[in-house]
Symmetry: C2
């Protein structure tokens, strides 16, 4: 893996120069400092500023740079940066962004700030944004731009080529997408290739060289879009409303970006962070979101611990067991989480579905048995040697082996069951698995110890 | 979130029809069954087959479909599917793929199978693949296609337009990329826009309308490429060797895909799965990879447990403490993992660097203090009520509060320190954090209990 060289000291001189330029309201100097930086670096510098300074920077730099920085940030952060600006300035920045990004930002803002910005925007643009913001963000409607590169079925090849050659129209915006031909009702009835345009007389009607277009409906899901772009080389697809009208285009790029955001959000949730937390958010918000997840977890922990409580007599008699209780539950939890991780990945790749639970369970049991036996023998020997008691080694080793088999086989299946029940597997699999493996681990160790008591004391 | 409706039963009829078609070597029927499916679904059906049947399917379907399926699979899986085929068939499938995908697959194959395929490929293509496979996969060299859409500086506008209009040349391959102009040494000296080509006389020299091109070096890292594509709307960038020669093009799409693969691989590693495991891999391989990580973890667990061992007298005197030991260590581990998750995300977004460790620590301490106090009070009351002992509640609550503060502040910083030390933060952060929070948790509970002994018994 190639990584950029790790700097040993933060670039204090840049930070100081930036602060000095901000203190002097020196727009040119601020831009000169930030422009050459990679966007992520420039954004990081800005996030480290006080709120007032941050606002000043985003107000003084050219709108295009501010727009790049807002777009570089995750949506929720970008929206909060925009909210902090004067509405007039926010509109200048909005004008630099594609309508799909505009809609994402507006959707993540508080209603008051969103309205303030929309009311100052060009009326047509604002209407587009309002329309886009109504779609589910993980559908073609939520991911599309409101714009499309389209021509009427009565136009000629020459008209398209003139439009492409002119400066009037921002063809770059469509980044290699093909021109669509729409009928009088606004429905896309054809698409023409660049090759077709270049190899035909300019006076020819577009209908003479067009081929039938592929379209996606506004409600197509992110997974469906992923599949379409995997199968076909197109850079964008026309999006049609349920009545067949062309309402926008969804780009390959927007789909890729949404997939990356989803993967990162799922990874965070597996770590117990629900909601896309960034450290630039207010402490109380970060704290509250994390606590919500932890509080549910503490209840599950108490349930698991009640198993130990039922065996106090055994514990008092063989206190050494208390040393191994956390170890057995922790190791099984880790084994189970590995299986959760593999299932989550296969779910996101579409290689496994909730109905495949039994098949997955069979596959995991075999890994669980091998790893359970290996880890059981390992920890059994450790317990035996450490405490000089072979029976103790047997109890601990056997308990870990059994609990590992249980944890691995359950871990592979839990995300599938949660999904079938309509729950979020990323957020709930870990706590659920840990509770089961904790309870079972405590039970295996303590009940085996109770059985073996004569040889343990 | 929109999700596809959850099926209650797997599609047995499809599976049976597929098995029947395979038994009869009915290539047309196999293709007819698989073609209409989304690629992920078709791949899943194939992965569920026995190895012999899987080989038969990939041998009988049209090469283009087989290539789509291989490309849909993660690289390691795609490579193993290719290895199982006859070399001649593998070459037919290879011919359908872009050179960057060819190189990824060859790079993931065993040397013998890779050579067998390369030796049967077109000599020029094979040379391209060998060349590409030498670059680090997460650099421009490793991500580029060996092809570029280029013209000599002596050619005219008409030559380019003729090439675009002809069927000879697979222009689609360059998916909206601009034509580059190279000098006699093969160095890119210009790029022309479609608008420029369309608005200029056909007899004009390309040099008269070209503008200076942006290029990236073969060693540019994935993060650098991400930044370039964030800043500029280009669909592809010309890649130059250290001597300035144009050696290929890296597409926006290849960069997006590599970012998604990296995010998914990091998410797996955070769950303790090193190496991109899929359930279609052999059980022994999956088991061995998971065990390697678990074995390191068991050693860390033993170190943590030794803390408990030092306090056996206290435990014997107040056996109720054994109930709360796993709870305190587990809850702190969860709190710490949340902080690890946020840091890993900010690292991947480039919003935080190893040098920012102190800043991150400060930010996390405040969350840790709030959540530590909240959770400490909660569990303190539970312990008090459950065991009817206020002093026990105080010991457990105080221990969890202190350990949560420690876990959260360490959790935010551990990935940064590991990265600075050149270690992989995704794979190592979790075990390291858990060991520290386990040891500290056990120590806080048991040493506080020892201090408070008169009030506990």
């Amino acid at each position: 893996m190639s990584e950029q060289p790790v700097e040993i000291q933060p670039d204090r001189s840049l930070e100081e120069a930036l602060l000095a330029a901000i203190a002097q309201d020196d727009a040119a100097e601020i831009s000169a400092l930030l422009e050459p930086l990679p966007l992520a670096d420039a954004l990081r510098e800005i996030l480290q500023l006080e709120a007032d300074d941050r606002k000043k920077v985003l107000t003084l730099v050219p709108p295009a740079l501010a727009a790049h920085l807002i777009e570089e940030a995750p949506h929720e952060l970008g929206a909060s940066l925009m909210e902090a600006l004067e509405a007039a300035r926010a509109v200048e920045i909005m004008d630099e962004l594609d309508s799909d990004v505009q809609a994402d930002l507006i959707g993540d803002m508080e209603a008051v700030e969103a309205e303030a910005i929309l009311s100052k925007m060009d009326a047509g643009d604002a209407a587009d944004v309002r329309r886009l913001a109504e779609y589910d963000p993980e559908t073609a409607g939520g991911l599309m731009m409101a714009e499309a590169f389209w021509f009427k079925d009565t136009q000629t090849v020459g008209a398209v080529l003139r439009e492409m050659a002119s400066d009037d129209h921002d063809v770059d915006r469509y980044r290699g997408q093909h021109p669509y031909i729409v009928d009088e009702n606004g429905a896309p009835i054809g698409v023409v290739s660049l090759r077709g345009l270049l190899s035909t007389k300019r006076s020819a009607r577009l209908t003479s060289i067009m081929i039938e277009p592929m379209t996606v409906g506004v409600n197509a899901s992110l997974s469906e879009l992923e599949d379409i772009f995997d199968k076909y080389p197109f850079l964008g697809m026309p999006v049609v409303e349920t009545d067949g009208r062309l309402v926008g285009t969804v780009s390959r790029e927007a789909v890729s970006y949404a997939l990356l955001e989803r993967a990162e959000s799922e990874s965070l949730k597996l770590q117990g962070v629900v909601g896309d937390e960034l450290r630039s958010m207010p402490t109380w918000l970060r704290s509250r979101r994390r606590l919500a997840w932890l509080s549910a977890n503490i209840v599950l922990n108490i349930i698991a611990a009640s198993v130990i409580s039922a065996y106090e007599a055994t514990l008092t008699a063989v206190i050494a067991i208390a040393i191994f209780l956390p170890m057995v539950s922790d190791m099984s939890g880790c084994s189970g989480n590995q299986a959760v991780g593999v299932t989550m990945r296969e779910l996101s790749l579409g290689l496994v579905r909730p109905v495949d639970a039994f098949r997955v369970w069979l596959k995991e049991v075999s890994v669980g048995v091998i790893n359970g036996i290996a880890l059981g023998i390992l920890i059994g020997i450790v317990a035996w040697v450490w405490k000089g008691n072979a029976a103790l080694g047997l109890v601990i080793g056997l308990a870990l082996a059994m609990n590992t088999i249980l944890a691995v086989s359950i871990g592979g299946v839990v995300p599938l069951l949660l999904k079938r029940l309509g729950q979020d597997p990323a957020a709930a699999s870990g706590p659920l698995l840990t509770t089961v493996t904790d309870m079972a681990g405590f039970f295996f160790v303590l009940s085996l110890a109770t059985l073996m008591m004569p040889w343990l004391v």
